[in-house]
């Protein structure tokens, strides 16, 4: 039996696929969030489309909860220290690796880029190892 959250994941994924398609078919750009955020922060020449995309990202999430009635999720880890550490590491890592889950994991793999396939395998493996290590440390303490 297919449960509801799996179907939501699939439908959400299809919508994200439509979004990435609109951006490449019309704007000619890759829907890589970390790259768009970096450009919005530091590329003064071509900032507006990036700011509109990022604003849309928040507004779209708001519309989703408004129209589907899906409850707002609570944080699994509600620690300010882990939020700061996680944020710093994610921000630095995505720029060093030239992309994140959207740019490499979706757009890059969709264009069959070897770099993006390697990057995606790398951050998924690293994320899985991190979660396993944290659980191990938690079990010991």
């Amino acid at each position: 039996m297919l449960d509801e959250s799996l179907i939501q994941a699939l439908i959400g994924g299809l919508i994200i696929g439509v979004s990435a398609s609109i951006l490449i078919l019309l704007s000619g750009r890759i829907a890589g969030i970390s790259g768009i955020l970096n450009g919005a922060l530091f590329n003064s020449g071509d900032r507006l489309w990036r700011i509109l995309f990022l604003g849309g990202l928040l507004f779209g999430g708001f519309l989703c909860h408004l129209f589907t009635g899906k409850p707002s999720p609570e944080l699994a880890i509600n620690s300010p220290w882990l939020a700061i550490a996680g944020g710093l590491i994610v921000g630095y890592g995505v720029r060093l690796g030239s992309g994140c889950t959207s740019g490499h994991g979706i757009c890059g793999i969709a264009r069959l880029s070897k770099r993006s396939i390697a990057a995606t395998l790398c951050f998924i493996a690293s994320g899985m190892t991190t979660v396993a290590l944290i659980k191990m440390i938690g079990a010991v303490i």
Binding site: L6, Q8, I16, A20, S21, G28, K70, G87
Partner: protein, 141 residues
């Protein structure tokens, strides 16, 4: 003008898809990364759904120089899998596993107004900025 509208529409759809799929729920994300524990594989279907649509769009645009509204197609042409790509992606994965957010969902999740999510996003911007100023000569593309 048109490409600004398409960026806004793509952003709204992307944010809707992230919230609907469960990517803004760190319980779901950490459950997906917990492959050695009680693995929640739902979020694999987000990527599957997104790829099922976007793979055709990127294939269509592969040899085009301009989009359907005459914007230049901006695709990376780097093919080299180097240490920077892999170490950056591995670092990103650590932060992803620590808190449960990658850049897109973190931005969309700002709408929940959780202090630690806001802290995560500010730290992520700080991480991007640190990377930026460690390589002062590289222009943003």
């Amino acid at each position: 003008m048109k490409h600004h509208l398409s960026a806004l529409l793509a952003g709204v759809l992307f944010g809707f898809g992230l919230a609907y799929s469960g990517m803004t729920d760190t319980h779901k994300v950490l459950g997906f990364l917990d492959i050695f524990g009680d693995w929640d594989y739902d979020l694999a279907f987000v990527m599957a759904g997104a790829l099922a649509v976007s793979i055709f769009s990127f294939r269509l645009m592969r040899n085009r120089k301009f989009s359907f509204i005459e914007c230049p197609i901006d695709l990376p042409n780097n093919q080299v899998i180097d240490r920077k790509l892999l170490s950056g992606s591995a670092i990103f994965g650590i932060g992803w596993g620590l808190f449960g957010y990658c850049p897109g969902p973190a931005l969309t999740a700002l709408i929940y107004l959780e202090p630690n999510t806001i802290l995560f996003v500010l730290s992520m911007v700080a991480g991007i900025t640190i990377h930026r100023f460690l390589q002062p000569l590289k222009p943003v593309s």
